[in-house]
Structure formats: C-alpha cells, structure tokens
Symmetry: C2
Subunit: 344 residues, 2 copies
C-alpha cells in the first residue's frame, strides 16, 4: 500500500509508487503505518465515529480528457469524496488512492501521473487529508480512479439523509446548475481554456475543480444546526428527492429562490434550455443540501459569518405529502420536481 | 453509499444497489449508518488502531472469465484484501465495494451480479466482515472491482514488513506456487471444471477461491509471535525480497524446505518449468510469510494447534547480507533468489 496489482512488472510498478510517494506530503504522526506495507495503520480520534466513503471516476464517463486536465481529474477524484464526508457533518482524515491505468499513461509519467498527483496532493493538503496508501494496476480499458476517504465525527453530530421532518426548511450552499452550465460550454469549446464571460468562467472552474463544502458540513454538524444533509453530486433535484424519501416527507422547492449563477442561466438559454429546470436537474455540483428544523434555524443562519462568503440560501421546505414539487414562480402553480439529471 | 456514480440513469443504478443490498447480511450494531447514505458511519473498536487497505481487480488483468466464474471473482475481490489485513496481524471489520461495470453485465444481473454478490457476501460472512457501502458506475471498459477493507489491531500487535532482523527464521503458511500451477492448468482447460488429479484440483481451487489466512495473521499478531509479516499476493520471492528490504537484511531460502503441492510440481514439470523456481516465482498465493525472532520461536510454533491444520513451514532465515539467496539443495551452492513473478 500503495501496492502494485498484478501486471507482471513489479519493479516498474514499484518505481511508479515511489514516484507518487515522493510527491505527497509526509504523513502526520497519527499515521502509524503509511504507504509501502500491506495496509495502512491509523490512530483513531478519541470519542469519534469512523466515516468511510468511496467513489470511482472513469475516463469517458466522469470526465472528458479533451477538456479536463490531469490536474482537474486529480483534484476532482478527492473532491467528490470530500463532499460525501462533508455531507455527514464529518471531518475528512485519510485517503487511499487506487488506480487502474492504461499503459499510455504509465509511459507518460511527467505528462499525466505527476500533475494528477500534484493536484490530488494539493486538494488533500487543503482539506488536511493524509494519503496513506492505495493500489496501482494496469488495465486494457480506460483510466479508472477510486479514492476511498475516511473521516471522523462526534456520535451526536452525524448528519444523515433521513433526519428531516415536515416543516424543515431546505437550504443549499453556493449555486446550482453551475457545473452543468460549465460542462455545456466546455463541450462546445474543448480546446479553449476559459470563456470570456467571468460568470461563465466561474461555471467552467466549478465543473473542472469543484470546491467540496468541507467546512460547511463540518460546522453544521458540529453545531447540530441541521436535521438532514446530502451532497448535490447527482444534482439538486436528486438530492431533494433522496432527503425527502429517506426522511419520509415530501418537499416543495421555491424556483425564484434558487441560487443560479447568471452565466449559467445565459449558457442554458443559449442551448434552448429553460434555466430553472436545467439548473435543478444538472449534476456534478458538489454543494450541500440541508434540512433545518424550526428550532435549528437561528443556529444555522448564524453560521453564515463563519463560512467565508459561501452562500447559504433557503430554497424550500420539507412537507407532509409524498409529493415533490417545484413552484417556479411565487404564487404560481406547483409542478412535479424534475426527475432526472444528465451527468454526461 | 452504495451510491450511484454518474451514468445518467440514477433510477436504474438505484435498483441495482437495492438488489445488491437485499443479498447482503444485515449490518451489525456497530454500523451506525450503512448502505444508502453519503458515507458509512462505524463505531471504532476501543483501544484499537484502524487498519485500511484497498485492491482493484480488472477483468483480463486479474482474472479470465473463461475460467473464473462470477462467484470466483466475488470471493477473490474480498480475499485479496483479507490477506492484506491478515498480514498486519489485524482483524478485518468492514468493506466498501466499488464497481465500474460494463453494460452487458448490468443487463444480466441474474447471470453476473447475483452470483458475484452472493460469493462476496459469503466470504464476508465467513470473515465476519460487514459490507457497509460502496459505489457503482458504468464503464466502456472491462469490469473493475475495488474493495476497500478496514480492520482493527491492538497498537502493540501490528505486524509490518519492516520488523525483521538477521537470524530471524522465515516461515510460510500453506503451500507456494499452488495458484500459479492451478492457473497453468486452467489456461489449457478453460472449459473443464476441475482436473482429475486431486492434488491439482487443490491448486485450481486455490487459484479460483483463495483462502486468505485471516486467522493465522490475527493469532500471530495477538500473540506477538512474529517480528514481520507480508502476504504472498505477488509471489513468495517477492515477499521475501520486500520483507528483507524493509527490514534492512538479506535472506536465505532453503529450497528443499519449501512446501510445494505435489500436483503443482507435476503441473510445472508438464510445462517444462523447474518446480522449485516456478513455485518461488509464482504469484497469487494468498499465504503469509513471517519473520520470527529466536525468542518468538516457541510461541510461534505453539500456534500450530490453533490453526486447524494449516501448515506453518520454516523455509529459511533473514541474514546480515543484502543478498537474497536460494539454496536449492541442502549443502548445495547459493544462487540469487529469482527476481520476478508472472501474474498472468
């Protein structure tokens, strides 16, 4: 760990592991055994529960190399997991990196492996995550990256999807549909680096290097300021649906309240998409959706000052019904919340 | 968790997750949040360290579907990780399953997913491992399976590769070269289920469904009966090399002492391979190599009675050297320990 998976050339794999190890920060003292043994050994945090998540990104499914750089992929492979840990109200801690690598990428360590690892290591350092092991193997197929991330959380501060109740307000961090709009632009401009419009540039950057809301999840968990939480990796509509289903409630979303980047709305319109519904259905936003009970509202709203400018927007509420509805305009009719999301 | 990775059809992925969840044992009480949320939440064991490992298996690299059944792959995807946890002297605890699945397999849940999960769940139940989450995604490439396994170990009972000293005896569990011989036979008889020769049948079964030495690793760790340990996933020669390098020693292996299944030796000979060197170089044996110091020998040998018939064979010793040597016949000359292994 990192250990080489059977590709018949342990010497070469070991050289690659060593190359990766040298680019990573040295391990903190609570890592008793790190990269290079059969498994990693970590000191747990006292009086905390262990949190554990994993996500796999596959080239051609989760990213397109025409417009995502090796660094973008390295950043994102950790960010998607940070987002899961944040959604539990937990603090991220240690990561394992497992890669199934096609030979043209192992042949080009300076072009792919180095910038990939540097961005992953940068995202890890920013989130105070130690990379403690993993696995490398060859593959005849596309690059597949699996990051497993651990975290720790106080037993009474866990945020699940299931804690909501009718009457809870729904809040979302940041903006929605942002990454989807960025992706629309990138598909049409694969060779261009960034758009001229600064608001659309925000969208493109959010797609390429999503900022997981680690601090927001942690703060809300620590202050027990929400009843339920989920991240928006599969889109806002999906998150509302999952939180409502797990909580045994319905939900009403107020369309006019939804925080949509102006550049995203313009980009959706350019593609003949209705901005509201496109933003609600779009995936790959690593924002957090919170259900906040009436008695938590003051504490929740009070966290704004600690979030370094990250927006927290009230976007609706959980309801008695089983229905999931979108009220596009205030006073207007309810319509069913769009079902799907289109990831790629 | 299990969560669906972006394939644009969350409904279908969720149905697959639900199908998998129904085939798994219900979670023990220490799993506070299991499959179905953003991350799993586990109660740690008191006064223990966390152990963490991950391994990826790729179709066409780590197995050949002409002679490995979906059940074989399910069993093996956990076993390779159990072996890593055992090699640390730790007790396995919780697993995450991440799969990148080509569409022909998601279309054939009864033919692939069900038997795969049943065998994985069977191996997990036998090792008292809870499957607490994971990730599913589609892939245009071959099936890739990443299992992450946690374990727990008492702080003073960790076995690393680095604890050996000159004069320590080397012991190995079970037999070596067994899986490599089984693979040789399977490559020539992909359609046949098992060979006629019972000793060769042992080899084929060991290749298809390796028995990780969970109990041996745990017992040796608990009794502090060894100074260093590593599993033989990349072959016996590789394990000796890694333990010696990590411990800053050399090693001498006594060829005549090596435990080689008669059916394996015969199969190697049929392929014009010298049995001793083929067994030493062959990979995919999930046995354990231990370095045992003089003052640990009595305790180590005393564990035989608790190992339910699993062989523990003394096969050599760590030396001052940096040299890694094989003495093929007792009294004969030393030769360099074969370097490589051939996994596939």
């Amino acid at each position: 760990m990192l250990t080489d998976g059977g590709d018949g050339e342990p010497g070469r794999e070991r050289a690659l592991i060593e190359r990766i190890r040298r680019r990573l920060a040295s391990a903190p003292a609570w890592v008793r055994v790190g990269i290079g043994d059969d498994a990693a050994v970590l000191e747990p945090e006292r009086n905390r529960l262990d949190v554990l998540t994993t996500d796999t990104l596959v080239e051609g499914v989760h990213w397109d190399s025409r417009f995502c750089s090796p660094g973008d992929v390295g950043h994102k492979s950790l960010a998607v997991n940070l987002s899961d840990i944040a959604a539990m109200g937990a603090t991220p801690r240690a990561a394992l990196l497992s890669m199934a690598i096609p030979s043209h990428l192992t042949d080009d360590t300076a072009g792919f492996i180095d910038p990939f690892i540097d961005a992953l290591a940068g995202a890890a350092a920013e989130a105070r995550v130690a990379i403690v092991g993993g696995n490398l193997t060859s593959t005849p197929g596309p690059l597949a990256i699996t990051v497993t991330l651990t975290g720790s959380v106080h037993p009474r501060r866990i945020l699940t999807r299931a804690g909501g109740s009718p009457g809870d307000h729904l809040y979302v961090t940041g903006t929605i549909g942002t990454a989807a709009a960025g992706l629309l632009w990138l598909k049409e401009h694969p060779m261009a680096s960034e758009p001229d419009d600064p608001s659309l540039t925000i969208c493109v950057r959010q797609y390429r290097r999503p900022a997981a809301r680690v601090r927001a999840g942690e703060l809300v968990g620590r202050n027990r300021a929400a009843a339920a939480c989920m991240d928006l990796s599969d889109g806002f509509a999906d998150a509302v649906r999952q939180v409502a289903e797990a909580s045994g409630t319905g939900a009403r979303v107020e369309g006019e309240a939804l925080p949509i980047e102006p550049g995203a709305a313009a980009e959706f319109r350019r593609h003949q998409l209705e901005p509201l519904r496109a933003a609600v259905g779009g995936g790959d936003d690593y924002e957090l959706l919170f259900a906040v009970s009436p008695r938590q509202r003051r504490a929740f709203e009070g966290l704004r000052g600690s979030l370094r400018g990250l927006a927290l927007t009230r976007v609706g509420e959980l309801t008695q019904g089983p229905d999931l509805v979108l009220r596009a305009t205030s006073g207007g009719p309810d319509e069913p919340l769009p079902a799907g999301y289109s990831h790629f």
